[in-house]
Amino acid sequence: MAIKDYIRERFFPHIWCPGCGHGTVMNSLLRAIESLGMSKNEIVMVSGIGCSSRISGYVDFHTLHTIHGRALAFATGVKLSRPELNLIVPMGDGDALAIGGNHFIHAARRNIDITAIVMNNRIYGMTGGQFSPLSGYGTMATTAPYSNIDHAFDTVELAIAAGATFVARSTSYHVKQLSKILRDAILHEGFSVVEVLSQCPTYFGRKNRLGSAVDMMEQYKNDTTPIGSKAKKENPDLIERGIFVQKEMPEYCVEYDKIIEKAMKGN
C-alpha cells in the first residue's frame, strides 16, 4: 500500500502550522507502518489533547481521540481487553509528561505492549505557547515572560527509570532513522517510548528566536549525535539519538493470560 492509503485524505491539508514537525512525525510513522505491511484494522491509535493529538483524525485506523494526558490509560483498556491489537499512542510533551506523567510512568512500569510516541516540541502549541515540562530552564514562553525557571525532564532517562523496555530518540530532521526506530518500536513486545524532537516554529521557535522551521531542523542536525559517538565525548551538550534500551521482559497482557490460566485451574 502507498502512504496515502493509510490516511483520511478528505481532512487534508491538516491543521498543523507550516513547518510543524508533527506532520513529519506522522509521515515517518506511516512509512514505518507501511514497511511492516500492517492491516489498518489491526491498529488502534489513541491520542490525548493538543496539537499532537490531532494526528489520530488523519490516519485511517481505529482512532480514539481522548482527553488531555489520559491517552495511555485509555490505550491500556483497549490493549488489555483485546491484546491482539497494535496500540500506537502519539502524545505531546505536555500531554505525556505533565498532565499525563503519572500514566506514562505506570504504563512503562507495567510493560504493556503499547508504542508511545512523545512528539516533543517543548511548548503547549494549541493554547498559544506556554512552557511545558520539556521547555527547559532559561527558555521563553507566554507563561514564562521573564524566562523559565522550571527544569526539563529528560524523556529518555525518565522512561528508562520507569521501566520501559524500548526507549529511543530521534528528530524530525533524521527521518530515515526515525522511521526505522518507529518500526522497531512497533515490533517490540512491551512498552516502547520514542521521543521525537519536533519543531514548533510558530511558538517555541518565535519566542526563543530560533528562526524558521528550516533553521530549527538545522539545529537538530547540528545539536544531536548518535548514541556513544566520539562527538558526544568531545561535546557533552550534544543530544544523543538512537535506541537507548531494547530488552525483553514479560509483557503485561501475556502475564495476565497466565493469571487467567491460574484462576481457571483453581475453579
Binding site: 483524525g57 481505529h62 481521540h65 491500556t76 483497549v78 488489555l80 483485546r82
Partner: protein
C-alpha cells in the same frame, strides 16, 4: 432446584450482579468504602477468562474502562467520594462519545477526604452534574442487597440500550452491611447485549447515527469498520465538527435519548401509598429506616406510605408529583442537606408541604430520627 443463597456485603452483591450481567472488564483503584468490589473482581474475573486491572488512579480507571468498552466488552469501575471526583472528566467523555459503561460510587461523607468509613448520601447532585457541560445521566440506587443485585444488572442493561454511562450510587451502609442475597438463575433477569452493526465491510458505517428506534449499533475496535471516537462535538462518523447544527443536534440527542425515556428508566418501589396522608420519599440505605417507620405507624392507624426511588436520575418528575398530589405533607428522608428534597420541591404543586428528615453526621439515620422530625412536622412537638 437448589437456590443460590449467599450471605454477603452489598459490595459483593454488586459484584454478583455485575458478573450476572456479563461484566468482562474492570479497572479500579482502592478506596474506602468500595474497595471490596475491586478485590472480589480481581479474584472472580480471571476465573471466567475476563480481565481486571488495578490502575494508577481513578482517572486512569475510568479511562481504561472506556477503552475496553470500545473493543466490545461490558465494563465497570467502582469508587467512592474523592475517586468519583477524579472520574468526572472521563465520565463526561463517556457521555459525549456514547460509551456503555457502569460506574459504582459507594458514597462516603464529604467534601474532600471527609469521613471515609461512615455513611453519607452527599453525592446525588455530583452524580447528576459532576462533569461539566449540559448532559443527561442515569443514576440508580438500592436499599437492600437483592435490589443492589437487580439495579446492577439494570445498570448494565441501560448502559447497553442507550449507549451511556450509568452510575450506581450506593452508600457505605449498603456496601458494608451483610444480608441475604438470592442469586437468580441464568435467564431469570433478561440481559441486554451489545448491539453491533449489521453493516458489512466496505459499506459506510455511521457509529453516531441512531436507528429509527433511537439505538446506535456499535462496531468493535479491531473489527472491519474503522471510525473516530472523540470528546469533541462530532458528526455521524465521529469526526470533530463545530458546525452549529451538528453541535445543536448532538447535545439534543444526548439529553433526549435519556430524558425521553424516563418511564423506561425509572425504577421505584411503593409502600402503602394509596391512601397516604404522610408520604415519605427516600432511597438507598435511608429508605430502610423510612420503611421501618411506615411499618411501625401503619398498625397504629397513621396513613403513612413510602416512595422508594431507585432511579435518581433522570429524576422521575411525574411519578413524584402524582404520588404527592393528595399528601398533607411529604418528608424526604436522606443523609445529606436535602439534595433529593430540592428535586421533590421542584416537581410538586405545593413545595411548602415538603420537609427534610436528614442526618449529616456520618451516623446512619434511624427510624427514631425520622419519627422525631415527623412529630415536629405534624405539629405534635418533641
Amino acid at each position: 432446584m437448589k437456590e443460590n443463597i449467599k450471605f454477603v456485603q452489598g459490595n459483593e452483591a454488586c459484584v454478583e450482579g455485575a458478573l450476572y450481567a456479563g461484566l468482562e472488564f474492570f479497572a479500579g483503584y482502592p478506596i474506602t468504602p468500595s474497595t471490596e468490589i475491586a478485590e472480589l473482581l480481581s479474584y472472580r474475573l480471571p476465573q471466567k477468562g475476563c480481565r481486571f486491572i488495578q490502575m494508577e488512579d481513578e482517572i486512569a480507571s475510568m479511562s481504561a474502562i472506556i477503552g475496553a468498552s470500545l473493543t466490545g466488552h461490558k465494563v465497570m469501575t467502582a469508587t467512592s467520594g474523592p475517586g468519583f471526583s477524579l472520574m468526572q472528566e472521563a465520565l463526561g467523555y463517556a457521555v459525549m462519545a456514547e460509551i456503555p459503561c457502569v460506574i459504582v460510587n459507594v458514597q462516603r461523607g464529604g467534601p474532600s477526604t471527609g469521613i471515609p468509613t461512615h455513611v453519607s448520601q452527599g453525592d446525588v447532585n455530583q452524580a447528576r452534574w459532576g462533569t461539566h457541560g449540559d448532559h443527561a445521566i442515569v443514576t440508580l440506587t438500592a436499599s437492600n442487597h437483592q435490589d443492589v443485585f437487580a439495579m446492577t444488572v439494570e445498570g448494565f442493561n441501560i448502559a447497553e440500550t442507550y449507549r451511556t454511562p450509568v452510575i450506581l450510587l450506593f452508600d457505605e451502609v449498603i456496601g458494608h452491611m451483610r444480608e441475604r442475597l438470592v442469586v437468580p438463575v441464568e435467564g431469570e433477569i433478561p440481559l441486554v447485549q451489545r448491539l453491533r452493526t449489521a453493516v458489512n465491510e466496505g459499506v459506510d458505517y455511521h457509529p453516531y447515527l441512531p436507528r429509527e428506534d433511537g439505538r446506535l449499533p456499535m462496531s468493535d475496535f479491531g473489527d472491519v469498520h474503522r471510525y473516530n471516537v472523540t470528546g469533541l462535538f462530532h458528526d455521524m462518523w465521529g469526526f470533530p465538527s463545530d458546525n452549529p447544527q451538528v453541535v445543536h443536534d448532538l447535545i439534543r440527542h444526548l439529553v433526549d435519548k435519556i430524558n425521553n425515556n424516563v418511564n423506561q428508566i425509572t425504577n421505584f418501589k411503593s409502600y402503602y401509598l394509596d391512601d397516604a396522608e404522610s408520604v415519605l420519599i427516600s432511597y438507598g440505605s435511608s429508605a430502610r429506616s423510612a420503611l421501618h417507620v411506615v411499618e411501625l405507624l401503619r398498625p397504629r392507624g397513621e396513613r403513612i406510605g413510602l416512595l422508594e426511588l431507585q432511579t435518581l436520575w433522570p429524576f422521575p418528575d411525574q411519578l413524584v408529583r402524582r404520588t404527592c398530589e393528595h399528601a398533607k405533607h411529604v418528608i424526604v428522608v436522606e443523609m445529606n442537606m436535602g439534595q433529593v428534597l430540592q428535586e421533590v420541591r421542584r416537581v410538586v404543586d405545593q413545595p411548602r408541604k415538603v420537609f427534610l428528615a436528614n442526618r449529616i453526621d456520618g451516623v446512619f439515620i434511624t427510624p427514631r430520627d425520622i419519627r422525631n422530625i415527623m412529630r415536629l412536622v405534624q405539629g405534635k412537638g418533641v
